[in-house]
């Protein structure tokens, strides 16, 4: 068993396989499909390099050790490393299949992996089948592919007695199943609950009843007086309930509180055992049923003909042949509805209405790691988003980004007017179904009221909907503090000293065409002594704030910042910043962007402020290893919204995969 698990985990740990081939085997109704593309992976790192890497060596020696073999290359596992490896799952109301499809290059080599004394696989033609010892999984393979399936019965299905009866399965319960399984003592301590919580006793089969009856007598005899008394009163209470049942269940109230109670406890234990046995039988039936289903499913995948996922447009559209790994989930709405019965009544509420399939792709190249995620929307929702996203960042913002010093920035641009107009729709869509049809009118009313009260046009002039927050480096600032000096008599004298503190210089900008409201606010602030003004630059008078915050309005932009000198240079048009192409593209082409440039932080914070030389060294070396990290939203394409996260790798590394391996190696050291 262990060997098989190792063999399987081996497969999972590599993914091989680009495969126009095995994807054909994935049924079109698969729910989730995950792919690891062997050829793309081993383009970045040759098999030989992998074998010699820290991770590769570790893997080979560990497997060699546990299988008592001598592996020198991952090719020894018999997998076709140039093809795609797939995971997919299939859901139904009664069973969930988790499946793996792995391309095989050398079936003999693979068999040697799982070979042991009792070689238990069967062969039919060139198809070999192996059932894992506890019958929970099946492995089937031939000379080209391997299929692994494990199925799990869904509890909610067999909780429905009509359905489960069809399969001759009974749903029995003792107390709370989980509580019992977790801790038998809990049951004893809480016996009152146990009695009342036995709605399924009618299901109890013959063996359990017989045992319960037999056990009753000796228990009474052995009991201490107190226990008998307790038991009698308990008997009365339970008598009524038990009338139309075939036997009484006697749960002593105080079973858990003394050692003298062991016999009583014994009774409960016996009954519990009976219940356990019954349960085990039912579980076995379920397991057998699951196995039958699994077997049929595996045969179907191996030999049957059916529509493949290749015909699913949403799936094929999500693919990218440069990706290292891909994940596709058919539809959030479907996922939600299929798991929802187990969540209770909100199941069909359609909370996820309007959201379609989801995909994620991982890319690695000689410059960076990149994860790209996409979500399909319903058409009307996509239209709404398009309207909202129809704004570009104010180009003038770019003048105020200093790429040579910038530690990072974050920007977004939306059309405030469109957002306010579309907002009620989202509200209705999300909460409308949640509240039920009866609330439709109220929600409609609320939406209209919202539109009536807000003049979207006017609001969008005050806040156009774009903003940029940028940290243009660090600045050291002199601060005073109080400490003590001691004279010849060690008399304490309070003295004020100064020291330098390093603080980031931030600048926040947003566009505004209509300053009347802002100007009124400023006037009010000045009147109330909350704001002071000097050369068009306003300072917020907030005693509690540890930093000074200035703001001003210039050329339709409202600026906030903590550096007076920066504000002054903006005010007098003396900014002389240079923006890099990466920064410019990120900011001007996307509705949302975020960037963190760790390198510009290296060595900029004095050691003393990080907590000593040693901490500072660690801090700086971590930062040095980081390239730019950035995030951006892509323009909406059709009904697909998507976003990318990228992390650049430092110079001196061939590609991201090798860099990742070197990181793992360093971490393991």
């Amino acid at each position: 068993m262990k060997k098989i698990l190792i063999a399987i985990s081996l497969f999972l740990s590599f993914n091989l396989a680009q495969a126009q081939d095995l994807v054909k085997k994935i049924p079109s109704n698969a729910f989730t499909v995950a792919t690891i593309k062997g050829d793309n992976v081993f383009k970045l790192m040759f098999v030989k390099d992998f074998n010699e890497s820290f991770v590769g060596k570790k893997l080979l020696t560990e497997t060699s050790k546990s299988l008592d073999k001598n592996f020198t290359s991952i090719e020894d596992f018999g997998i076709n490393l140039e093809k795609n490896m797939y995971y997919f799952n299939q859901l139904s109301d009664s069973i969930t299949y988790n499946c793996f499809l792995i391309p095989i290059k050398d079936a003999k080599k693979f068999e040697s992996l799982i070979e042991n004394k009792e070689k238990k696989f069967t062969q039919q033609g060139d198809t070999r089948t192996m059932v894992l010892p506890d019958s929970t999984s099946i492995i089937k393979w031939n000379n080209n592919m391997l299929y692994f399936v494990t199925g799990s019965i869904r509890g909610s299905f067999f909780a429905d007695s009509a359905k489960s009866a069809r399969y001759g399965i009974k749903d029995i319960r003792f107390q709370s199943e989980d509580a019992l399984a977790a801790d038998g003592v809990t049951l004893l301590a809480d016996s009152t609950v146990a009695v009342t919580a036995e709605p399924m006793v009618e299901e109890a089969a013959a063996p359990a009843i017989a045992k319960a009856k037999v056990q009753k007598k000796p228990t009474v005899k052995k009991n201490t007086k107190k226990a008998v008394a307790t038991k009698k009163s308990r008997k009365k209470k339970t008598a009524k309930k038990a009338k139309n049942q075939e036997y009484e269940i006697i749960y002593p109230e105080a079973a858990s509180d003394s050692t003298g109670m062991t016999p009583v406890r014994g009774l409960v234990d016996e009954q519990y055992d009976a219940y356990q046995q019954e349960r085990a039988e039912q579980d076995l039936k379920k397991k057998r049923l699951a196995f039958t289903w699994m077997k049929a499913q595996a045969d179907q995948i191996f030999n049957g003909t059916y529509e493949s996922i290749e015909n699913n447009k949403s799936y094929t559209a999500s693919l990218d042949n440069k990706a290292i790994a891909e994940l596709w989930v058919s539809s959030l709405q479907d996922v939600y509805n299929s798991v929802a019965p187990e969540f209770g009544t909100y199941g069909k509420a359609g909370l996820m209405k309007g959201y379609g399939s989801l995909n994620a792709k991982l890319f690695m190249d000689n410059k960076s790691f990149r994860i790209s995620t996409g979500l399909e929307l319903a058409q009307d929702q996509a239209d709404s988003y398009k309207k909202i996203m129809n704004r570009k960042l104010n180009k003038n913002f770019l003048k105020y980004v200093n790429s040579e010093k910038a530690l990072g920035f974050m920007s977004y641009s939306i059309d405030t007017k469109a957002y306010l107009e579309e907002f009620p729709k989202f509200l209705k869509q999300t909460y409308g179904s949640f509240m039920g049809a009866r609330m439709d009118e109220e929600i409609e009313l609320g939406s209209d009221l919202f539109s009536l009260l807000l003049d979207e046009e006017a609001v969008s002039k005050v806040i156009k909907g774009d903003a940029l927050f940028v940290i243009n480096g660090l600045k050291s600032k002199e601060v005073t503090y109080t400490t003590y000096e001691y004279d010849d008599d060690y008399k304490q004298k309070e003295v004020t000293k100064t020291k330098n503190e390093t603080l980031p210089d931030f600048l926040l900008m947003f566009s505004s065409d209509d300053h009347r409201l802002i100007n009124k606010l400023i006037k009010y602030g000045i009147h109330k002594n909350m704001v002071t003004v000097e050369n068009n630059i306003y300072k917020i008078q907030e005693k509690k704030s540890p930093i000074d915050i200035y703001f001003m309005i210039k050329d339709g932009i409202v600026f906030f910042g903590n550096s007076l000198s920066e504000m002054q240079s903006i005010n007098s048009n003396q900014q002389n910043n240079k923006i890099s192409k990466l920064h410019k593209d990120l900011l001007s082409k996307n509705n949302f962007s975020f960037l963190f440039n760790a390198k510009n932080l290296v060595g900029k914070v004095p050691d003393s402020e990080i907590g000593g030389v040693e901490t500072a060294k660690k801090f700086n070396s971590t930062l040095e290893k980081m390239g730019n990290v950035y995030m951006k939203s892509n323009p909406i394409k059709g009904r697909l919204v998507s976003a990318d996260i990228s992390a650049e790798i430092p110079n001196g590394h061939e590609n991201a995969l090798k860099y990742l391996f070197s990181l793992i190696e360093n971490a393991a050291k």
């Binding site: 503090y481 980031p504 540890p546 402020e609 901490t615």
Partner: protein
């Protein structure tokens, strides 16, 4: 994003170098020959006031709840109230400066050993089992002032359990004790201690980390001239 959230974001950025902060703890005891005296305890966070001011605006930092100004003032008042009730203690005063983040408590005692009970009770209140970790004895007859100190073993283990990030808060924190006398000091046994030029005061400065780790022992026996 509303203004409060913006403010928090800004603070978060300001707090990037939060890793360390400096603070001073000063304990001053002025002994009279008759055994009575005064104590002034000072906690001074002024060197870290930017950070403290930022932290005070947040609800919690590094997983710890940040007490409000009122809460701190309340605790201080409680301490004062407690001291006022304590045996042999009088003239209790406290001050707090929330601009520079300095707090002091001062009081007079009949006998220096009155302090010992206070520490013991306070520790007991906080459910810290500590026997004789720190005590003061003044012997009027021999004119010896004795400070006994034993690093609390559990403090070290508890401290070592903290995350590196949290430990760093104590980097640069100092503890200073000053004992002042009416008579001249003839000897001071702790090698880390210094006797003032006037020979009437003894000072010992150490880092709080060393104190917690037991690297520095502040025990001292000071002999005064008879």
């Amino acid at each position: 994003m509303n203004l409060k959230q913006l403010y928090k974001l800004l603070l978060f950025i300001v707090l990037i170098p939060i890793l360390s902060s400096c603070f001073e703890v000063v304990e001053e005891i002025s002994m009279k020959n008759d055994g009575t005296g005064d104590v002034v305890l000072t906690i001074n966070l002024s060197q870290s006031k930017t950070k403290v001011a930022s932290v005070m605006l947040l609800d919690s930092v590094q997983g710890y709840k940040v007490p409000s100004k009122q809460k701190i003032q309340e605790e201080l008042n409680e301490a004062v109230a407690y001291l006022k009730k304590s045996e042999g203690i009088s003239n209790v005063k406290s001050s707090s400066d929330f601009n520079n983040y300095i707090a002091t408590i001062s009081f007079s005692f009949k006998d220096v050993s009155n302090i010992n009970n206070i520490t013991k009770n306070i520790l007991a209140q906080h459910k810290i089992k500590a026997t004789n970790t720190s005590s003061y004895i003044y012997n009027r007859a021999t004119k010896t002032f004795n400070r006994k100190y034993q690093a609390i073993g559990t403090a070290k283990t508890e401290f070592n359990k903290l995350k590196a990030k949290d430990k760093a808060v104590f980097n640069g924190a100092t503890y200073t004790s000053i004992y002042r006398f009416e008579s001249l000091v003839t000897s001071s046994t702790n090698p880390a201690s210094n006797v003032s030029k006037s020979k009437k005061a003894v000072m010992l400065k150490s880092s709080i980390i060393d104190l917690i780790n037991g690297k520095i022992n502040v025990s001292n026996t000071i002999q005064l001239s008879k």
